[in-house]
């Protein structure tokens, strides 16, 4: 696949994939390595990383294994990042796709609605939603998705709109294929590549978003996430800065890796094909 090729031919791409694979494997293996979950008090609190190899990343303020917490944190952060991106891409694609493909009144109505969502300050709205519906994985995902779909909708609309005017779409419509079918088989696949690039960006944003919410204490209290770890370790930052530093670094590296891959994907797209209609 050309996307993989373009990622793996750049050195930072290889590094990014490697880091993400590590994060992903950590997330997947967490329950196997720490079947008791991340919350178990395992040892003396505030152990430094790399001292006791049974707890390679040390322990936190309550003596919980940081390695376990980081791995479960990867689960939450990556999971929420992916799920909320999927939800908002689906939402944005549906709204934007319908608006762009049907045009006319439907379009202006949907775009007004989208505009309204963009008028509301993102972070404030997310806080509000979570505060109103009390913090849980679901409310966090809903909040992130609700604030992130409008840019997807706009992009999808622009793509659908321009593709709709493309001659191959018109030809398909003329030849008697139904509009629904044309939207799905002709327009959608061609609208996907910019959306994929955007989705990569959104996974990063969602991870950052979730971390900020957890940091403020608005994450699901029953799961560990990297943002939660930063917030929790903030209390002890002057004595044990590494407890704050490690989860922050994990977020940073993950987001950097995803961005690099996003860049690589967007580089891999045939620029000739994409540029032309945008004029």
């Amino acid at each position: 696949m050309p996307i993989w090729k373009s990622i793996l031919t750049r050195p930072d791409g290889i590094l990014a994939v490697l880091l993400l694979v590590i994060a992903g494997v950590a997330a997947l293996l967490a329950p196997a390595l720490f079947p008791d979950g991340p919350w178990r008090m395992a040892a003396r609190p505030f152990q430094l990383p790399l001292q006791d190899m049974r707890h390679p990343l040390g322990t936190d303020a309550l003596g919980r294994d940081m390695a376990a917490m980081m791995m479960y944190g990867a689960r939450t952060s990556l999971g929420i990042g992916l799920v909320s991106t999927a939800v908002s891409v689906l939402l944005g694609l549906t709204v934007g796709g319908i608006a762009g493909f049907l045009g006319g009144r439907v379009d202006s109505f949907l775009m007004r609605a989208t505009e309204m969502f963009q008028t509301v300050p993102n972070f404030a709205l997310a806080l509000l939603l979570i505060a109103v519906y009390s913090p849980s994985i679901t409310s966090v995902v809903v909040a992130i998705s609700v604030v992130s779909w409008p840019p997807v909708a706009r992009l999808a609309r622009a793509e659908f709109l321009s593709l709709r005017r493309r001659e191959f779409v018109q030809a398909a419509l003329l030849s008697g294929q139904t509009r629904f079918r044309v939207a799905f088989s002709q327009v959608l696949p061609n609208a996907l590549s910019p959306l994929i690039v955007m989705a990569a960006l959104m996974v990063s944003m969602s991870i950052l978003f979730e971390s900020a919410l957890s940091f403020l204490g608005l994450g699901d209290p029953n799961v560990v996430s990297w943002g939660y770890l930063i917030g929790a370790a903030r209390a002890v930052i002057s004595q044990s800065w590494w407890l704050t530093f490690m989860p922050g670094l994990a977020i940073m590296l993950t987001v950097v890796s995803i961005s690099i891959i996003g860049d690589a994907i967007s580089d891999s797209q045939d620029p000739f094909f994409d540029r032309r209609e945008s004029v």
Binding site: T119, F123, L216, I230
Partner: protein
């Protein structure tokens, strides 16, 4: 011209009304009402007491009536009373708004100037190590949760080095006046503003670099070179000038979001602005304040967009014609 401004303004007012309505309904759909909260905080669970509070706050009326009353009040710039402080919400917001505007404004300008400069440099030196360093820097800033950077900065610059104050807007009790007070304020502003700016700055740098690279490949840039223009001038007068279009759009979106984004910075740096007011009020269920801050921030976003639209007319002559 006047007509377009009028209709644009009207459109935005409608959006604002919808935002207010939606927020009002959303907030009111939350479990627990302010009367219960006040009763709780003052340690009284007496149902009669709660009922009396409700009646006094108008919470016993049907929701739609409450909404109507509220919208009417907002129209005359009355955002209601804070349940907790018993003061007009507008006053509470106005006394904190300048701090937020200064913080967000400084962060915005920093982000814009530094981001554009970085993106510009990267685009000009595209493919060289300078480009790589800038790109790496912007990707790192983009990826670092800025509250995290802020925490680390406090530890380093306040706790360890003692260079910068850890929070607040002024040295309390120092009684500075005049220029000294301004300097003191700026001294307090440095860290929060920089921390809030990082993320946006990274976004600009990336955007500017990408859009300048795009523009640099256009025919009119080639034509400018063919005129014999000095390359530096081509970069400034043609490439940068034309790249201002996407930058302006992005700036409009970001300016408003920065205001909301200060919630985190204001909390970490004890900066008394409306972001923190919103968070505190949210936790305390002080509905009127929450909605009030929401309206004000939305208004700021709307105004920012309006400004951007006007700027657009300046930056892109094509829009001026229509």
């Amino acid at each position: 011209m006047a007509r377009t401004i009028l209709s644009e303004t009207l459109k935005r007012i409608i959006v604002l009304v919808l935002v207010i309505t939606a927020t009002f309904l959303l907030v009111r759909s939350a479990p627990g009402d302010p009367a219960e909260f006040i009763a709780g905080e003052s340690a009284s669970g007496d149902p009669a007491f709660i009922e009396a509070l409700r009646a006094r706050m108008g919470l016993d009326k049907p929701l739609i009536v409450q909404l109507g009353i509220y919208l009417g009040d907002v129209a005359v710039l009355d955002l209601g009373m804070s349940y907790r402080e018993g003061r007009p919400v507008l006053d509470m917001i106005l006394e904190r708004l300048p701090n937020t505007l200064i913080l967000a404004g400084t962060a915005f300008v920093m982000a814009l100037v530094m981001g554009t400069a970085a993106g510009f440099t990267a685009a000009v030196f595209r493919g060289t190590w300078i480009d790589r360093v800038i790109s790496l820097g912007s990707v790192l800033f983009f990826a670092s949760p800025y509250y995290w950077v802020a925490l680390l900065a406090i530890i380093l610059f306040s706790a360890k080095l003692g260079w910068l104050p850890s929070g607040g807007t002024q040295t309390i009790g120092a009684g500075y006046e005049g220029a000294r007070a301004v300097l003191d304020y700026i001294h307090h502003l440095i860290m929060p503003a920089t921390a809030s700016a990082l993320f946006t700055m990274a976004i600009y740098a990336r955007l500017v670099r990408a859009s300048m690279t795009d523009v640099a490949n256009t025919l009119f840039v080639k034509a400018a070179h063919a005129k014999g223009m000095v390359p530096g001038r081509v970069w400034f007068r043609h490439v940068l000038r034309t790249s201002l279009l996407p930058i302006t759009t992005m700036a409009g979106v970001q300016a408003g979001q920065l205001v909301a984004g200060t919630i985190l910075t204001e909390t970490v740096f004890a900066w008394p602005g409306i972001g923190r007011l919103m968070y505190d009020s949210l936790v305390a269920r002080d509905y009127n304040v929450v909605i009030g801050v929401f309206i004000v921030t939305s208004l700021i976003v709307i105004l920012a967009n309006l400004v951007v639209d006007l700027l657009y007319r300046f930056v892109d002559p094509r829009t001026r014609a229509a």
